[in-house]
Symmetry: C2
Subunit: 346 residues, 2 copies
């Protein structure tokens, strides 16, 4: 007779601690292994070259829904999701490999659409598709994306370098991809209940584009180089501002204070969110898939940063003991809370 142990559900460990827990006994041994698990990407050193390696897995039904995601857009977005992690290290993506598992029922033409999207993104971001694997799947589609990038050692930016008083900055605006997703989900539900109703998506161009065809912020990395700015820490916003800011705080061993009114939210995001009965700021804090860059710079860079277009200063880094706070519009202070296990990146 076997004794039944009580097993631990994945959700008990929470989203962020799972991979840490699973790999706690792993040590690096090869001298080329410079940085392992715990940042946006691994760092491999070969002579003077620093190579940045990232891996992402996109799963149908979790990360995308083929009901409303054109395969061409999905191909494009897969590349963007992968290279965004490389830019978040202040590095340059150069090679990508994409492997897919798909049902045998999918047509060659559909896969061609997917690869057309991949090629568009590779052309735009000047990266090379160098490998891949196609496999059949009994169920849904899975996409594995791996990107190799390079950086000079002195230019690399980790999650761990934020210092007290540093300014917390974010590129572009937040929450749009999440608002777009909610529109698509609403239209899907309406269409399912009455197949004669054609979805009207004309008023949601911007939020839909942010959801379906996001861009990675290569332009910000280019601007850093031009202005000779090296952030003290950086991460790309894939899980939502709060979660990703928590990664920086944890690895830098600091706290943070951000100002609700400073969080950049596009007008269309705001309008869409209100229509959907969601607080716009909630889309920005927890939405995810923005692929914007969240970074910190020393206070003395304030002038340069504020002169850069498309960058918002949303707060500053504090002592860890001060916690992670948001100042609301009425001047009150609330504790920031990261969401739990949601199937996204750990």
């Amino acid at each position: 007779m076997t004794i039944k142990r009580k097993l631990t559900e994945l959700s008990k460990l929470g989203e962020f601690r799972l991979i840490e827990h699973l790999t706690r006994n792993f040590k690096l041994r090869n001298k080329s292994s410079f940085k392992g698990i715990g940042d946006d990407a691994a760092v491999i050193r070969h002579g003077k070259n620093m190579l940045i390696l990232t891996t992402d897995l996109l799963v149908e039904g979790i990360h995308f829904n083929l009901v409303y995601t054109p395969l061409k857009h999905l191909g494009y977005k897969s590349v963007v999701a992968g290279i965004s992690d490389i830019y978040a290290m202040n590095a340059r993506p150069e090679q990508i490999t994409i492997s897919i598992a798909v049902s045998n029922k999918i047509s060659v033409e559909s896969l061609e659409e997917f690869y057309t999207g991949i090629k568009l993104a590779c052309d735009r971001y000047q990266i090379d598709l160098v490998g891949g694997d196609t496999s059949s799947s009994m169920t849904g589609m899975t996409i594995s994306i791996n990107v190799l990038g390079t950086a000079k050692p002195e230019e690399l930016v980790y999650r761990s370098g934020a210092c007290i008083k540093d300014l917390i900055c974010v590129s572009g605006n937040l929450g749009a991809a999440y608002a777009g997703l909610q529109v698509l989900e609403r239209e899907r539900r309406i269409f399912q209940s009455d197949k004669m109703i054609q979805p009207d998506l004309t008023r949601y161009d911007y939020v839909l584009e942010r959801q379906l065809k996001p861009e990675a912020r290569k332009d910000i990395i280019d601007m850093f180089k031009e202005k000779e700015i090296i952030p003290t820490s950086m991460i790309d916003i894939s899980d939502g501002l709060t979660s990703d800011l928590f990664h920086i705080c944890k690895q830098s061993e600091v706290g943070c204070r951000i100002y609700m009114e400073k969080i950049p939210i596009d007008e269309e995001t705001e309008r869409t969110a209100r229509e959907l009965n969601v607080e716009p700021v909630i889309c920005a804090l927890n939405g995810g898939e923005d692929y914007e860059l969240l970074f910190t710079v020393p206070l003395n860079k304030s002038e340069i940063i504020t002169s850069m277009t498309g960058i918002s200063v949303i707060g500053h880094i504090t002592d860890a003991d001060w916690g992670k706070k948001m100042v609301t519009r009425d001047g009150g202070e609330v504790e920031l809370k990261a969401q739990g296990w949601n199937g996204g990146d750990p």
Copy 2:
């Protein structure tokens, strides 16, 4: 009204031509991209360093069945499958990233088992786990494995270097993993029809180990170095001898002639195959998952090669016009035929 196009089924393009077809318009542009799609791995050049990058996707229900695959073994095998591609380039694996998508229902303890297997393999092959991603899945488990290796430029071996008259060699023996899989499948069927019957697997130790806990042939690469042998072409046998030999022939633009009686098959594989009413040589030709190395060497290396333990010379490379043939035991000649789309590597 939309006009329905007739769509092409994946199977129409066959296993090997699919990825070629999908990526035919992709060109390499970065000077660090030395070799893209078409070999066991991509090759990236940074100064004097050649980096080898591979990607593999293992899908539940296609590549593994959790009914009879312990998660610890699956972790170990995932690493082996990844690094085997690197050895097949005569290179050394150094870093690995493993991402998984699993149902939320899986327990932390099960994932710990999986990572214990990964760690065992990392320790044995002296490689570093440097990255990974965990994600939830609506259905089965998917594992994405990416390995980064290094080699000196002059040591790298591609699929494309085989020359006429070269000897075709293979390490170890073939077909055992396939025989092991057939035993496991038989026992699963028996168990499903009568849950009181305990599977008796005692007489299948070797073939089961080859299926459940294969090894990569690092020892052969070490031996090449020691004996100063650099094969003219090489591939690891993951899809079966015929398929993988076809890759070499295609990329080297040559033909081949192999001898049925020279194909190394273990006694237990032979016995098991006969028990299952399969010709043992069919297991070796089409079985796959052997992770043995298939390579070619110039004729003048014959003496060194035959002195090496665990290497069998199974035939020689011919002019492409002579086709791809197997000489049977009675001296007849048959055309070798690769299997079609089976969900494995392209």
